[in-house]
């Protein structure tokens, strides 16, 4: 199992390199075409780095606990690296992103359960398992939001007495 600090540094470096490349291409496109549209790519990069900046203290996100203004910018609670087997670097963020599309509590539960199962899955079968989680995610997002909205609607329209 690689050193968690090394993993963290690699994730941060990957994030910075990815953002630098795509922002560079966006700036180049803006200069060439003269259209401010690619500026959106730069803003998206900034938002992604802010939301997903890997931390060790059990919460990903750029700002420490309690900071930020919205659900995304407040960061996402994780169980840190405690006992977690390393997930393939490409897929960990994908699962995290999918969980953010779900309502907060069910999303966290889904991610925690996925991490729990994947940490005990053989390396050979991990990829198939991760793909199965990602494949079922869109349907779960819809189901969970529908359930959440119907729950809120029931609460709102329930007549007293």
């Amino acid at each position: 199992m690689p050193d968690p600090r090394l993993r963290l540094r690699r994730r941060r470096a990957g994030m910075i390199v990815g953002a630098a490349i795509s922002s560079g291409v966006a700036i180049w496109a803006m200069v060439q075409v003269g259209n401010p549209g690619p500026a959106l790519v730069i803003l998206a990069n900034a938002a992604l780095i802010t939301a997903y900046w890997p931390r060790t203290a059990g919460r990903d996100g750029f700002w420490p606990r309690g900071g930020g203004r919205g659900p995304v910018f407040r960061g996402h609670k994780t169980d840190g690296d405690a006992g977690r087997a390393p997930l393939p670097l490409r897929w960990g963020p994908a699962l995290s992103l999918a969980s953010r599309l779900m309502p907060r509590d069910p999303g966290r539960r889904w991610l925690a359960e996925a991490n729990s199962v994947l940490s005990e899955t053989d390396t050979g079968r991990q990829r198939a398992a991760i793909c199965s989680y990602l494949r079922s995610a869109p349907r779960l997002v819809v189901t969970m939001w529908a359930r959440e909205l119907s729950h809120h609607a029931r609460l709102r329209f329930r007549r007293p007495g």
Binding site: R84, A85, R109, A114, S116, V117, S119, A129, L134, T143
Partner: protein
């Protein structure tokens, strides 16, 4: 609310019914049913919504166990009764299937 009883749902119910009091976690369930864990999760969620299944997080220190806590699932009392009935219904051959077999056998 009765969940839709697809083949996958029946596989999950069958695994849970083997020992109704026993708790199974995601990976065990996936191994017993042959379903991928990502496929089993929405099924368990639906069964939990229907009140057939209950779940809990394992009470374990992740650092000591060197793994994250598991989520355990088991059938509720009512769930076990309804699941057994559903399994019995699923095993019963359907009329259309019987007619199909009869046609294959040459019986009018």
């Amino acid at each position: 609310m009765v969940p839709r009883l697809t083949v996958q749902v029946l596989l999950v119910l069958q695994a849970l019914l083997r020992e109704p009091g026993r708790e199974l976690y995601g990976l065990e369930l996936s191994e017993e049913t042959g379903l991928l864990p990502g496929t089993a999760y929405p099924i368990l969620l639906r069964l939990e919504d229907a009140g057939w299944v209950t779940s809990r997080w394992e009470d374990v220190d992740p650092r000591a166990a060197k793994r994250p806590p598991r989520r355990y699932y088991r059938l509720t009392g009512a769930g076990a009764v309804q699941a057994s009935a559903a399994m019995a219904r699923a095993r019963r051959p359907r009329g259309a299937a019987l007619r199909g077999l009869a046609r294959e056998g040459g019986t009018p």
